[in-house]
Symmetry: C3
Subunit: 376 residues, 3 copies
């Protein structure tokens, strides 16, 4: 259901070679590539822009003294343009920021969270998850040590229906033991995946089979529950979505997006990628997007969407009787929050963790930044 | 009201000497000792288990290539069992993990949060709290420097009724001044316990008497408000529960459990203890458990319960008009949250902070881990 | 609307020269100066206080042994008063604490968050914001490097009405580029303030004009969105309050207070000031205070009010359909929460972040501490 940009779409870097008027562009283009929705509004040559509503002008005349100013310490810059020194430094910083934005969405070879089709065996939906150690690319050229299910970080997305009979076969090809906990599912205790409490650890080279009837709907997760601070940090995690039998409480949406946050050994990531390799969400004007936030990290991440609000409809898979609105949703480790965004505002909207050091440095944006693109 | 396992119950270490079939055990045993609900499912001899639903097998045959695999980096482990090297390392790690689980619930000499019976003096409920410096045992043999009320960390549990007349006599036997703030109670300002704002500091060797009519119901706390970052971190804290006059809004529960989180100089603790010395909650199938979370630490702790959801019914002692459900509840410093768990799912359920480094390392579980045991 | 103490009011340091009976004082005084509501309850000369309800006495007689005591480790202090050594140390610590409290509210030369009156130009409300680099005084003598709008940290408070036409002229007198994002406002994308996505960066020496019709009511913010982890941390932030056209859902309050939290390079601050230079909120008994919390920092801050609860009425500017009560409200970066406090309890109430190391050290209170003063 989810419309996430495909990996073959153009990036801004390509588009920038054929520059376009930014405002005309944003207002009229119906883009299939999100890269096209981002434009190099400023360039290192320092060109300015002319528009009725938004304009940049050199402050050649004296600026009014700021009210409440203590005086002295800031006087030099009031009326005098900075000398070449700081301007050069500013240009150099801007160039780094621009380079990052232009690279977005940067391509990487493999993406996680890909839908995993089950094999149907006597009415049972069978999923195989093979855990291996590998290298993972969080952004172009940025390789990190990983543990992954089926070579993906996050692991493949499992999507079933309340009441389904499900079998998950875990194959451990790691150099350490592991196990899978189905976080949020109210399973029989033998299926809970906690070594030495509900099952033996699954040793390297062994397989282990979980089987159960899916008990409760909602946005859940699966992840390692053995040496988990390490194994989940390295990537042994994925989404386990359960669609309800009774859909009367479900919101009608055009896109259904899983959005997994992590902050361990791989840096600050959305679905296993760091900006500029994060994937934007692309929707048409008037469409509704359901976002299923899942925090698999060690820190909170208050997710801020620009331009439109988020209506919070479920917590940990349980519908809220009294939904509420926000633009910044604080998501703690282990939590899942479902929100709906009504895409009423066209444009390319920054969408990021509002703990700013998770999203930007003086070298530009990185880590937990992506965009929601609302196309006209 | 609360059923917390007694300190004389068997631990897993004892039970493991007479091994039992895990599944039969979990399904049929009606245990009075929680230790019995935990079984050594795997052993260092690597024995496997045979069951229709959950089985471990050596993956002697080739595993299918994971979808989306980048190739190369993980190939070696697909079809070849790891050599003895990693297996030995895995076994060594598992042995450490198993040892921790088997030790749970580990006995320590003294427990905090013990109910404190008031003396009744002319209709006034009189509680005495003596603050001392001492050593505290967070887990067997793990001694930490502490400040404690009545020799307990957390301090003794005070439980009164809305409208009660209460006197709290603080005796300061510390080497520094102190004072008690009744966190959440809407007291006359003279009783608020903030040195130099509402009272003088209580010097070493002095006593100080607080007296008030209990104004508002709910899950509250008492703790030092002098040099508090240090004194509360070292243990000068406790639960102050106020039962409402009007019980019509109160949930009917079988167990009423105070659950105090801390993360200061004593490490990551639940009610003053670190895993494996944390105390499990034990309930019978069908019973309801009310948990009163209180965060006396410096960090958030998203508390994740396996197997069953938590219905959130009150914040800081105030009933929610619109309760909501979750499995992971984020609790910030100073907050109290009341939840009810309907014990519908039998078994031993992991119950831990989902900031994983607060709960597990490669040496096994530690810190903020306990269990909810639902007995058939 | 907001009643924040003026800078010319007396501080406790002055008042302390004419000591008064604390209890009589608190109960009868109707103070215009909040300093007067704080009294030096204890002094370094160790004078005690006599009252029916609250008394300090030297524990000359043996204290009863604490229940549950492990014995040995704490025995020495049960009956014997500490020797002069620790008492001297305790007095020295108390003196530091007292000094901090007596200094509150400490005066600084310039305050941020001052209402900014717009110029009305053809029906457009025009606000000018000039960004400069300067020194900022977070507490008397504590100067920090800052970036500020109009010489204020936080920047001037902008307050408009839903549907207003607004123009904001940004003048960049920094040595680096910048831009303004109107956090929470659902503006046309060209006005969103994200360099290289929605506009070019505003270079040093340049100006940039934002103009829009105010789309949605509530407690919002404006801040830099360029090199923002640095620029917002240094002070480029302010409140952007939008009053709704339809006021039927608005609470009727006597005071409307903006309360901006920050924790970057300036330390732990409320509205740009650290205790003892934070400004108390002053209200009369029976009045209602609306507090608009805004977190511009990198950490959560659970705000704890003593003595009265807070009713939470809005999140990020959106009214809650089901308001809830608390005494400790967790506020994450980028979030805004509106609460109403019904001032039913007279006195001077501590009001602070409950992450205690943000508020107190063994040298006394600092950082995120202020007071709500309810005058009879």
């Amino acid at each position: 259901m989810s419309k996430i940009m495909s990996h073959d779409d153009d990036t801004l870097a390509t588009l920038a070679e054929a520059p376009t008027s930014r405002r005309a562009f944003l207002r009229t283009a119906s883009l299939s590539a999100v890269g096209g929705a981002l434009v190099a509004c400023g360039t290192s040559s320092g060109q300015t822009q002319n528009s009725a509503a938004a304009k940049t002008t050199a402050a050649a005349t004296a600026a009014p003294a700021p009210s409440g100013q203590t005086g002295g310490t800031m006087g030099a810059h009031d009326t005098v343009k900075p000398t070449a020194g700081p301007l050069d430094a500013a240009d150099a910083m801007d160039a780094m920021h621009e380079k990052g934005i232009k690279a977005f969405p940067a391509k990487t070879a493999v993406y996680g969270n890909q839908p995993l089709e089950p094999k149907l065996v006597n009415g049972v939906k069978v999923f195989e998850l093979t855990a291996t150690e590998m290298q993972w690319e969080t952004a172009p050229g940025q390789m990190v040590k990983a543990m992954a299910y089926n070579g993906q970080v996050p692991g493949p997305q499992i999507r079933v229906r309340e009441g389904d009979r499900v079998r998950v076969i875990l194959k451990n090809q790691l150099t350490q033991s592991t196990a899978i906990h189905f976080h949020g599912l109210e399973l029989p205790v033998e299926m809970d995946g906690v070594p030495f409490i509900t099952q033996p650890p699954v040793k390297p080279g062994e397989s282990y089979t979980y089987e159960f009837t899916v008990p409760n709907a909602g946005s859940h997760m699966y992840h390692s529950h053995h040496n988990a601070a390490v194994q989940v940090g390295l990537g042994l995690l994925g989404a386990f979505i359960v669609e309800p039998k009774n859909k009367s409480q479900e919101p009608k949406v055009d896109h259904d997006v899983v959005f997994i946050l992590n902050d361990g050994a791989h840096g600050y990531t959305f679905n296993g990628k760091s900006f500029p390799a994060t994937q934007p969400i692309v929707a048409k004007l008037g469409q509704k997007v359901r976002i299923r936030y899942m925090n698999e990290g060690m820190m909170i991440h208050p997710m801020h969407l620009h331009g439109m609000h988020q209506t919070v409809i479920a917590k940990d898979g349980w519908p809220l009787q009294s939904p509420w609105k926000c633009d910044t949703l604080n998501i703690a480790p282990g939590e899942r929050w479902d929100v709906v965004v009504n895409c009423t505002n066209p444009g390319t909207w920054a969408f990021h963790c509002h703990i700013l050091p998770h999203a930007e440095s003086d070298h530009g944006m990185f880590g937990m930044v992506t965009a929601l693109v609302v196309e006209k």
